[in-house]
């Protein structure tokens, strides 16, 4: 008879003691086969689900710092870290408070959608690393001021193609020129006061069309692509083809002084000298709405690219905001003590820059409608333009000055300056290029402004290198996605908000129809218990417990 003496160590009384043992064994195992032994032992011992879960996590962590054949281990284990500011750039909304436990379906839906949104945010932030181009810059040497650097110096210092982007078009005969760049930045439209209109592919200097409309031209604007443009002539609004053929003469739009094109709504907004703001749907060809602003001659106009709201500047110093859904102004802001001379809104829709006859340049936060900064200019800026990367160009007389970062740091001197031959009549940064176009009395000048353009474009949105076929496909898709003018409002995300008012109304109707409130909580009636457990004191205690639980649930829930 043999007695088997089982010399085993005492079974661990807590689960973490077991895991500690495994960790030690894993460390001792050595290079290459460190994971085999603990895993077999794990398989024998695990029985509770909690233990299994922890062991699975341990195994996964161990596999991650597996040693390779060379014996080295990964110095940066785990997934690549994403910098916080890049992640913030792609964040859309804060996490919302989860509904109480009884709405379990809604809870799971919200949790799942937030998980998916977080994953999308991380993927987009990771993709940012793959963007091909980097923005331009101009840095002076020690003691050198960037505003003293001339255009010729810059053109000589950069490569030939970039140098060719600085050119003059001497057209002194037909008056000061208004200019417009198309959305892709490839095509330039210039319109002289005395009737000369030309459209050019400015990078290859290919002239697409050149006509003289034999009337005074107040403003010109590209429509959705480089195939059509609108000219606001002396009496009416004309639409021309890129070959110079007159397509439409729209008599309903008379005495138009300024125009703005809303690209995602296919709307052309026009401001007239008879104080009418009219919207034209260029895809259908119908006038959407004609608003009588009753504020006099409308000469200053700009759009907010984020929410498609039109900003108008008035001779009494006010700036008004308009949408096609309301006959009155959405917002009226008193900005200057004299007339407002020019307006510009940044592409993120956060800041608005205004310049007035009181020789001031003011910066406002458009989201909160608060003034941020106020600068004094020796002569008021007649034209303003904001680039995609936040550079502000201001033109006074025949001098064009470019300022950098007007809204955060107080600006003392311009980033760049240039003098053109003749008073400036139109100022426009070219999208996706480091170029500023200036239309003046003597024609057109293209200035080099390093750091102005957005380096990386999205080809599905605006592709400067698109072929004709790609343009056609893009046009069809853009027309299908055309946003209806009813959706234009100060907050562009309004559609994504929960409509509480309608829910309340519907709930009221339902209660009236049913006779009782289906969502009302049933009053808690404690069950009758025997053996003295239903005495008054005990019943009160049970009622208090339930009331306390309800109060806990109704308080704002903490994230688990």
């Amino acid at each position: 008879m043999t007695t088997l003496l089982i010399l085993s160590e005492q079974a661990p009384s807590r689960y973490w003691q077991e895991l500690q043992k495994e960790k030690d064994e894993a460390k001792d195992a050595g290079a290459g086969e460190g994971n085999k032994e603990p895993t077999t032992e794990e398989a024998e011992e695990s029985n509770t689900p909690k233990q299994k879960k922890r062991k699975f996590k341990e195994k996964r962590d161990q596999n991650q710092d597996k040693k390779c054949i060379s014996g080295k281990s990964d110095p940066f284990p785990g997934k690549a870290r994403i910098p916080e500011d890049r992640l913030q750039k792609f964040k859309r909304k804060e996490k919302i408070k989860k509904p109480p436990h009884q709405h379990y379906k809604l809870r799971t839906m919200i949790a799942r959608s937030e998980e998916a949104s977080e994953m999308a945010q991380k993927q987009a932030a990771r993709f940012d690393l793959l963007l091909p181009e980097e923005a331009g810059f101009l840095e002076g040497d020690e003691g050198e001021d960037t505003c003293l650097v001339s255009q010729e110096d810059i053109a000589n210092a950069v490569d030939i193609t970039s140098g060719a982007k600085h050119f003059h078009l001497k057209l002194s005969q037909f008056g000061p020129y208004r200019i417009d760049y198309s959305k892709t930045g490839r095509h330039l439209l210039i319109g002289g006061r005395k009737g000369h209109v030309a459209c050019i592919d400015w990078q290859s200097k290919h002239l697409m069309c050149e006509i003289n409309v034999m009337e005074s031209v107040n403003d010109i604007k590209w429509l959705h692509s480089e195939s059509m443009y609108a000219v606001a002539q002396k009496k009416w609004l004309y639409v021309y083809d890129s070959n110079g053929i007159e397509l439409h003469c729209i008599r309903k739009f008379n005495d138009v002084l300024r125009m703005q094109f809303l690209p995602y709504h296919f709307l052309l907004a026009t401001a007239s000298s008879t104080s009418f703001l009219q919207y034209l749907d260029v895809s259908v060809g119908k006038e959407v709405v004609a608003i009588n602003t009753k504020t006099g001659r409308l000469d200053v106009m700009c759009q907010n690219p984020q929410n498609a709201i039109i900003h108008l500047g008035h001779p009494n110093g006010t700036v008004t905001l308009w949408s096609p859904n309301q006959k009155e102004a959405l917002v009226k802001m008193l900005c200057h003590q004299g007339a407002v001379r020019s307006l510009a809104v940044e592409k993120n829709g956060t800041y608005m820059v205004t310049s007035g006859m009181d020789k001031k340049l003011k910066v406002y936060d458009i989201r909160a409608f608060k003034p941020l900064k106020s600068y004094f200019l020796p002569a008021g800026a007649s034209c303003l333009s904001l680039s995609q990367r936040g550079l502000l160009s201001a033109a006074t007389g025949d001098i064009v000055q470019v300022y950098r970062d007007v809204w955060s740091t107080p600006v003392t001197k311009p980033y760049m300056a240039h003098r053109v031959r003749g008073t400036v009549w139109g100022l426009h940064f070219c999208p996706f290029e480091d170029v500023l176009g200036v239309g003046h009395q003597d024609g057109f000048t293209s200035m080099l402004v390093p750091g102005a353009g957005e380096p990386n474009f999205d080809a599905l949105d605006a592709n400067p290198f698109r072929s004709a076929k790609q343009r056609q496909e893009w046009e069809v898709k853009a027309l299908l996605e055309k946003i209806q003018p009813e959706l234009i409002s100060l907050d562009p995300t309004e559609l994504g908000h929960v409509d509480r008012a309608t829910f309340e109304q519907k709930h009221e109707d339902r209660v009236k129809a049913l006779g009782f409130d289906p969502l009302a909580k049933v009053k808690f009636i404690p069950k009758f218990k025997k053996k003295g457990r239903s005495s008054a004191g005990h019943v009160e205690k049970r009622k208090k417990q339930v009331a306390h639980e309800d109060q806990r649930v109704s308080d704002p829930e903490q994230e688990i």
Binding site: F90, E134, D153, V158, Y264, Q306, D461, I483, P492, L495
Partner: protein, 445 residues
């Protein structure tokens, strides 16, 4: 001075040859893509409208029967085979991909009451009005051979329903009582009775394979465990159920098709009140079948329509009807969850798409991506009023449209009367009974 001006090399942005695809550099910066919500909403609206444009669910009609189709049976192994039994005792085997009848046999004199294919797929069972159970071979008999059943069992009473076990060689029939038969024996191994004289259908649970449910003529549904000797429990409702179908994904849930124009989904464990009451039909519901995903089921009704319900919704998501389709007697959801087969009174079996706007066949990867994107957009914006209005819109035959309105008026009138009675009586004298509780009379263990 240090200067860099943006200059792009066109070679990096334009394709090299005409045979390449175009280059599409992307930048996901949200500031380059304004109006996200409004554009997605417009896309969702377009997707919903296109779904209605492409909603053409009817695929084919299989005709050949000379009397109304009484029952259908899915082949357990082959997706393209369907068996149907008609009211004159004929059984036809169909090839769905060629949409033609492969085999016909005269199974019974009188109605073919029930049919089921054995789990292995090599044989099938039929029961008929001539009180017989016959087992047939699945393969067509060779040239010159007669159509003979493998096995015939003569019973004492008429059988009305039949179902086969998922894994073992056991099947159940119902008639005057529920019998469990072994394939090798010619008398039942167990019989369950509970004081009812006739049962209309019996069904095995596909997940918990030893459980059965049956619908009895005393307006009740009785649940059995094959291993026990007595029935488990029964729930008595206000009106009789015609058929019963178990959810193939959830072990406890079953749906019954009732005579009071509704379908009820019950949890087997808590029969006091149904989980969901599915209301949308305007006449008695005759048959119900679950999709293999367990997320939806389809119901056939005496009111000449087929409705598809999500498993947890009170109303249908889709309704199919045709001028030529009369009372739909039996319905099946194909095993790849793509097609619905309906057998109706006018001797036709119709093949429908489960998702009316779905493009069938192999999709190119970009097509599939676009379809998935549209589907996700529709789900995201499904509660917006304009989109909901378009997505819900269905054309109904005039009779059904008027009947639905009439039923709603009747229901409103009843509710108003109850409200008035409650208003004018002592508070608490007329208790509020929820819609779910209204239809269950009692549960008996």
């Amino acid at each position: 001075m240090k200067v860099k001006v943006l200059s792009r090399n066109p070679d990096d942005y334009v394709r090299e040859t005409k045979l390449d695809i175009q280059r599409v550099p992307r930048n996901y910066d949200p500031t380059l893509h304004p109006f996200e919500v409004a554009r997605e909403y417009t896309r969702a609206l377009n997707a919903t409208k296109l779904e209605r444009v492409f909603a053409k669910p009817f695929l084919a009609s299989l005709d050949g029967h000379r009397d109304g189709v009484n029952c259908l049976a899915k082949h357990t192994r082959s997706l393209s085979t369907l068996l149907s039994g008609s009211c004159d005792g004929e059984v036809k085997v169909w090839n769905l991909s060629k949409r033609e009848c492969v085999r016909t046999l005269q199974a019974h004199e009188g109605f073919v009451r029930g049919m089921v294919v054995r789990f292995c797929g090599t044989s099938f069972f039929t029961i008929g009005d001539d009180k017989t159970i016959k087992q047939w071979k699945m393969e067509t008999p060779g040239y010159g051979e007669e159509e003979e059943p493998l096995h015939t069992i003569l019973g004492k009473t008429v059988f009305t329903g039949l179902d086969h076990h998922q894994k073992e060689g056991v099947f159940a029939t119902c008639g005057q009582q529920v019998d469990i038969w072994d394939e090798q024996r010619s008398s039942p191994i167990r019989s369950f009775t509970w004081g009812v004289d006739s049962f209309s259908s019996v069904s095995f649970n596909p997940v918990e394979t030893d459980l059965l449910g049956s619908c009895a003529s005393d307006r009740s549904i009785v649940l059995y465990d094959m291993r026990e000797s007595a029935p488990l429990k029964k729930v008595i409702m206000t009106m009789r159920s015609n058929t019963l179908c178990w959810n193939p994904m959830e072990a406890y849930y079953f749906t019954c098709a009732n005579e009071d124009y509704n379908l009820y989904t019950y949890d087997m464990r808590y029969l006091e009140k149904p989980l969901v009451v599915h209301m949308d039909h305007v006449s008695a519901v005759l048959d119900v079948d679950y999709s293999p995903t367990g997320q939806e089921f389809v119901s056939a009704s005496f009111d000449k329509t087929i409705r598809i319900f999500p498993k947890d919704a009170g109303h249908s998501r889709e309704v199919y009807h045709t001028k030529r389709m009369q009372h739909v007697i039996c319905i099946k959801w194909s095993a790849d969850s793509k097609y619905i087969l309906s057998g109706s009174d006018e001797m036709n079996i119709r093949l429908w798409k489960a998702n009316a706007a779905e493009k069938l066949g192999v999709l190119a990867p970009r097509e599939r991506e676009a379809a998935n994107y549209s589907q996700k957009l529709k789900e995201k914006f499904q509660n917006h009023p304009q989109i909901r209005r378009i997505a819900r819109h269905r054309h109904l035959p005039k009779s059904i449209y008027h009947q639905t309105k009439e039923l709603r008026v009747m229901k409103d009138a009843r509710r108003r009367k109850e409200m008035n009675v409650r208003k004018h009586s002592k508070p608490g004298a007329v208790p509020v009974v929820s819609e779910k509780e209204k239809h269950v009379v009692t549960v008996v263990k």
